[in-house]
Symmetry: C2
């Protein structure tokens, strides 16, 4: 059922609330913060409507995949100046959304905005300003560094890439050692997602500046190894966790522990992931209880008491099980599963763990779906709970 949640990721981009559709559209549109330099479009208004403008004078039709609940998208119309324009019928959810254009039957990106890797391709991105945007804003606080590392992976015969966030002070405090969170992206995304779309570095910078989180290192790497051909991400149907588990546990963790000043023991290591990355976390951590002490599943399934009871040592070794979802993923009170699979109730699971004496935290991101605003908020809730002893 986790796979279904992951696969659903790219479809319902920014569900709109039905009632807002009928409100008049406020004419206070401003360029999206993710636009390329000097680009005026796409724009966003104070209600969360997005407006697009695509220059293609000879085109027969231009459509934007973003729109009302992701269904149908937004069809643009041709203005007298040859540009195609249109506004989403309803407001989009706050936060980051992927989208793409269909121009005369072909898939292209909006030349106005930056690209982000999702759905196995570099997609267009737009940012709907959120009321709580301050926690991931670029502010005048000390900043950690995000560095690209290329680590040898004998098991896959490749040099693999990871991004490593080192917290502010890491370079100066040469005798300090730090705990590490291994943080995974979702299906169709890659190791760039948590910094680019997720702003994980800024979330940590701000939490650390506010004294809310112990400074720690974050490591983000590509979570798929079943590439059919080099550079070709594999499908979920053929997914086997073991090759990635080998890369992570046998290759990347030792590399990070050699290259960085880590606290290289179980109680100073966490793993979390969004969607498919949560699925990976739930498979890898129980099989490696001497390696990780914290679990975070962001829109990536849940852990039941039955799961825990089946895993010897889980209760003693795992200091926190954190599970989160966007509220729209839980509509009707349960997590929607694929046809034929009984729906899981992640909140009931989390409460059962707590009643059984485990440290279990359940978080719901208000008015967001299977998208990055849910996962930014999840990281913001999860980070302060880590490495507290």
């Amino acid at each position: 059922m986790l796979i279904a949640a992951a696969l659903a990721g790219s479809a319902p981009a920014g569900a709109a609330s039905a009632q807002a559709v009928t409100a008049p559209v406020a004419e206070d549109f401003k360029p999206s913060s993710l636009n390329q330099p000097g680009q005026d479009y796409p724009q966003v208004n104070s209600q969360g409507h997005a407006r697009f403008r695509i220059v293609a004078p000879a085109a027969q039709g231009v459509k934007v995949s973003l729109g009302l609940g992701g269904r149908g998208g937004t069809t643009l119309t041709k203005a007298p100046d040859g540009a195609w324009t249109g506004t989403t019928a309803g407001p989009l959810d706050e936060g980051f959304h992927y989208y793409r254009l269909t121009v005369d039957g072909g898939t292209f990106n909006d030349p106005g905005t930056l690209n982000f890797f999702g759905s196995r391709r570099w997609e267009s991105g737009i940012e709907i300003p959120a009321k709580d945007a301050d926690f991931y804003a670029l502010k005048d606080v000390p900043h950690g560094h995000v560095q690209q590392v290329l680590f040898p992976s004998p098991s896959t015969g490749t040099q693999r890439r990871a991004f490593v966030y080192t917290p502010p002070g890491y370079e100066k405090n040469q005798s300090d050692r730090y705990p590490v969170l291994y943080l995974q992206h979702g299906w169709g995304e890659d190791e760039t997602a948590w910094s680019n779309q997720g702003r994980a570095n800024l979330i940590l910078d701000n939490l650390i500046a506010a004294g809310k989180t112990r400074p720690f290192i974050i490591v983000m790497t590509y979570g798929m190894t079943n590439d059919v051909t080099p550079g070709r991400p594999g499908g979920l149907s053929s997914f086997d966790i073991r090759p990635f588990q080998t890369v992570l546990v046998k290759e990347l963790i030792p590399y990070v522990d050699r290259q960085f000043r880590t606290l290289a023991d179980q109680r100073h290591r966490a793993m979390a992931g969004l969607s498919m990355g949560g699925f990976e976390t739930k498979l890898i951590v129980p099989a490696n209880l001497d390696t990780f002490a914290y679990i975070g599943l962001f829109s990536g399934g849940s852990v039941s008491l039955e799961d825990v009871n089946k895993i010897p040592g889980f209760r003693d070794k795992i200091k926190l099980t954190f599970v989160s979802f966007g509220s729209r993923e839980l509509e009707g009170g349960t997590m929607r599963g694929p046809p034929g699979v009984p729906p899981a109730d992640p909140r009931a699971n989390a409460e059962a763990l707590k009643r059984a004496g485990l440290n279990s935290v359940f978080y719901v991101s208000p008015e967001t779906g299977h998208e990055f605003q849910t996962w930014r908020r999840s990281l913001h809730e999860f980070a302060p709970l880590l490495f507290r002893d």
Copy 2:
């Protein structure tokens, strides 16, 4: 005249030799190494021809900006399956080229390939395999890290971004200190160019692994400050070196010297740049002879003996003046200047410096123009000459 050279950057993308046009096109096309995951097009053949395939069944016309000498590009034709295809009339120069599509009068990127920031926008990129590609290949050698840093810039009221390459061993050898090269991009590019298009990190990894270069740090930041509005890169007509000089010398260098284990003195600091970045280097280094000891101008003008004689201290302080061009930039034996400006002869300038007893190196990249293959090779020639005492 440097400005003209810089501005010319985006126009002559991959000049083809006239005679090769008539050779039959070899049908051994393979996907470009810069394609997005799973994408078969664009492709490149053994002669350096590029072939494009764009799906847009209802389009009226699709053109690719890459082509014979950059003039006119390549017009695609519609295949029965609705895809637009075409092959460049001649081979392209070896190395990296920017390009873009025109679809029904609008500018888009090729959805098949990765994007690279150039010409003030994220452009499509293609790589023509070069005979000397080994020096910038990703190999099984120890790799340095490339890290994003956000540094405070009170003079511009912003948090600015730089990328910092730390060589292999930097993390482990906690008592070692390293020299630093400040390396600038060209006009229309940004601080991502030297790692993404230029492969500066891989060039250094390979040189260091071969024992040809002393390990050093490279710092790459955005070289323009005259943004008309935030995020809007300024034009060259309004360019003033002083604000960027303040950012570099008063803000970034002290930040790097605080955050990294640098050898923080003049003789362990170099500055180089491509095109506009060379122009900046030529302005900033002579005004800061107590800060830098090495100059590298890659397709970014040259230094004459007259220049040197006008700058008190240059002769004593500067340990190396390195000037390079692509051979196509020097066709006719001189660097082409704008109308009315006598052409400079950078080779004669370099030889005059040498005759006058200065350490002057002139390098010409064979069969390349104002493009990244020239600059990759220039860095590869320049790096071993740095910090040798």
